[in-house]
């Protein structure tokens, strides 16, 4: 099922007299390809959960249109949209067993969709099998671990074969190891069911690792939409560049002069076609190359060994980050102290207008 959002805007009335309305989602315009997994990504308060609630019908947009396939569902209440939703806290009914929880949506079906008892039982068992919960069907949610509860919530959302599956921060309540496992699980289930899935997260790593496409939002406005690698490799503005990647991208106050990027007075990179003037230069941690003749001189703080890679921790006077963490292969040997010099990989360096924070492209 293709999902289309056409210029969707959602405003909430302000609190108190004369308060201005708050725009949670501003002119969201996007078509979600059928059968894909899309990650809605952004810091808290950026409108991603509101977008999800607009999609499932718990909220109505102030303006704009939402379509599932060719059907306009904008005015359709949540009850009739046929979406499956996994809530952040799972919202499993605590007084019902896992089986009853999963069966709950099926019991609501009326008219021609009404299922017989054996059909329901079969559907419940299929859904439980999909999330590998068959043995736990007679337990209560309180007797399950967080990861298991999460899977029950997914099974409950999938059991009625929804047109769209929505997940609100599906991994935020899980510990680190379970999070890795569960995100693979979500990917697997989505691949298997081929249901168009949208999930909301503030964790960029999570979004990048399993999404077919990611949508980066800030203050209710969509910043960039694209495949994860695409967005990572070519962010449209400083916000997107900063938001994606761990360790975070490094920002330098730089200047472009004669088609060259100057950091702290030293020309570090040729940037043909970039107009003269101050810029914000952003360098990915993996964009540093250890080079004794390199133009970028930094004061070495220390080295963190991570096995496959090492991260060289150093400082540069024009860097806005407190420290620079350059990720380089462990095969390199780093001098013991003093100054360490780097060359930069042109594809890992992005220039942004110092005022508008928009990307300034250059030929790498």
């Amino acid at each position: 099922m293709k999902v289309t959002l056409q210029h969707v805007t959602k405003q909430f009335p302000g609190r108190g007299k004369g308060a201005r309305a708050v725009t949670a989602v501003n002119d969201f315009d996007f078509t979600l390809p059928d059968g894909k997994l899309v990650g809605l990504l952004g810091p808290s308060g950026c409108g991603k959960s509101t977008t999800l609630n607009l999609l499932c019908g718990l909220l109505k947009p102030t303006s704009g249109k939402i379509c599932f396939g060719d059907e306009d569902v904008t005015q359709l209440p949540a009850e009739h949209r046929g979406v499956g939703m996994v809530f952040q806290n799972y919202a499993l009914y605590p007084h019902l067993t896992v089986r009853q929880n999963i069966r709950f949506p099926l019991e609501n079906l009326r008219g021609k969709d009404k299922l017989s008892k054996p059909e329901m039982e079969q559907r419940v068992r299929d859904a439980a099998a999909l999330v590998q919960l068959e043995e736990l069907l007679d337990r209560k949610p309180s007797e399950l671990s967080g990861g298991q509860q999460q899977r029950v919530a997914i099974a409950r959302a999938l059991v009625k074969t929804p047109r769209v599956l929505l997940l609100d921060e599906p991994l935020s309540n899980l510990d680190a190891r379970l999070r890795l496992q569960t995100r693979e699980e979500i990917r697997r289930i989505q691949r298997k069911t081929q249901v168009t899935t949208i999930f909301v997260t503030h964790d960029q790593e999570e979004a990048m690792s399993i999404s077919d496409e990611i949508v980066v939002m800030k203050d209710g406005v969509v910043q960039q939409i694209g495949r994860p690698q695409e967005v990572y490799d070519s962010p449209v503005n400083l916000f997107v560049a900063k938001f994606l990647g761990t360790p975070p991208i490094h920002l330098f106050r730089g200047e472009v002069h004669n088609g060259r990027l100057l950091l702290g007075g030293a020309a570090v990179l040729a940037v043909p076609g970039v107009p003269e003037g101050p810029v914000t230069a952003a360098v990915r941690p993996e964009g540093f190359v250890l080079d004794e003749q390199g133009p970028l001189a930094c004061t070495l703080n220390g080295v963190e060994v991570m096995g496959r890679d090492i991260s060289v921790v150093c400082r540069h006077p024009d860097c806005e980050n407190t420290v620079i963490r350059a990720i380089i292969s462990a095969e390199n040997t780093v001098p013991a102290g003093g100054t360490v010099r780097f060359a930069l990989k042109p594809r890992k360096v992005f220039l942004f207008d110092a005022d508008t924070e928009r990307r300034i492209p250059f030929e790498a």
């Binding site: 718990l58 949540a78 009914y93």
Partner: protein, 296 residues
């Protein structure tokens, strides 16, 4: 060991207090109920046995009181709980003026029982001068004049039930509205997304989630209704036996201090019987609730 001794020491005042004013009287009442013809003044009795129970159980006034009390319990507990539930659901679903209505519904709770009884009497009583407001309303619909206060038994019972429901309602509404407010709205959202009809949301989600509160209200409602007394006095005056509207507690009181007073042994036996009835009903309630109450 040292800690234990300290713990007991700290608990001692409470134990002494409860022992003197709760446990000792309880045991004493139990003993009185077996002591035949106990006399307050001389502190003497003539024998030990079951005569007191036999007397009480054969006393038509006591049997009338039991009948009245049981009817009152059976009618008012379900009606008041159900009505309170409906009102609370209504209150929680309106947005405008909710607090105003909550206050109005809570007012009976802070109003004096006897004052309210007086108002009810004015509403229902038939005097040589007027038939009372309720009868005027009945006339409007072509009904006959009914003397609710001094008339037929069913009319008196009806007034007592209406009065009791009216008096116990505010507390139940208060407790239920807060229970309803404590249900996490995410469950309702989840139910909506799953296309759950309103009625089913109520029976399958709301009710189980507030079931411990409902159960609490039923239990305390039963116990409270079994101990009814002041309500009947407020409506029918102190001579309840004459009005045929006595309750078990009223009977106990009459045996102790009423016109026919001075019979602590009969009073104790009646009190022990009431205790047995309430205990049995509460146990049954507990057993039934096990299946339907969800403590999460």
């Amino acid at each position: 060991m040292e800690n234990n001794r300290k713990a007991w020491l700290y608990l001692l005042p409470a134990f002494l207090f409860l022992g003197a004013f709760l446990v000792y009287p309880l045991i004493d009442v139990f003993l009185y109920s077996f002591e035949e013809c106990y006399n307050f003044a001389s502190q003497t009795y003539q024998g030990v046995g079951l005569y007191n129970y036999s007397y009480v159980l054969h006393d038509p006034y006591f049997l009338q009181a039991v009948k009245n009390t049981v009817l009152l319990v059976v009618i008012t507990v379900p009606v008041s709980t159900g009505l309170a539930l409906a009102l609370s659901v209504g209150l929680s679903s309106i947005e405008k003026l909710r607090e105003l209505f909550q206050t109005i519904y809570f007012l009976p709770y802070v109003t004096n029982t006897l004052a309210v009884g007086l108002v009810f009497m004015i509403l229902f009583k038939k005097t040589p001068y007027t038939d009372g407001l309720i009868n005027l309303l009945l006339h409007l619909f072509g009904g006959p004049t009914v003397d609710f206060i001094a008339g037929p038994y069913w009319a008196k019972m009806l007034v007592l039930c209406i009065y009791t429901v009216w008096v116990v309602m505010p507390f139940k509404v208060l407790i239920l509205t807060s229970a309803l407010a404590s249900v996490n709205p995410m469950y309702y959202n989840a139910a909506r997304v799953d296309g759950t009809p309103q009625w089913r949301v109520f029976t399958r989600i709301t009710l189980p989630m507030i079931s411990p509160t409902v159960f609490y209200l039923i239990i305390t409602g039963f116990i409270g209704a079994f101990k009814a007394y002041s309500d009947a006095v407020a409506l029918f005056g102190v001579d309840l036996n004459a009005a045929g509207m006595n309750t078990i507690v009223g009977y106990v009181y009459d045996m102790l201090y009423g016109n026919s007073g001075g019979y602590p042994s009969y009073a104790s036996a009646a009190a022990i019987l009431l205790f047995a009835i309430v205990l049995t009903i509460t146990c049954i309630n507990m057993l039934v609730s096990r299946k339907h109450v969800h403590y999460v």
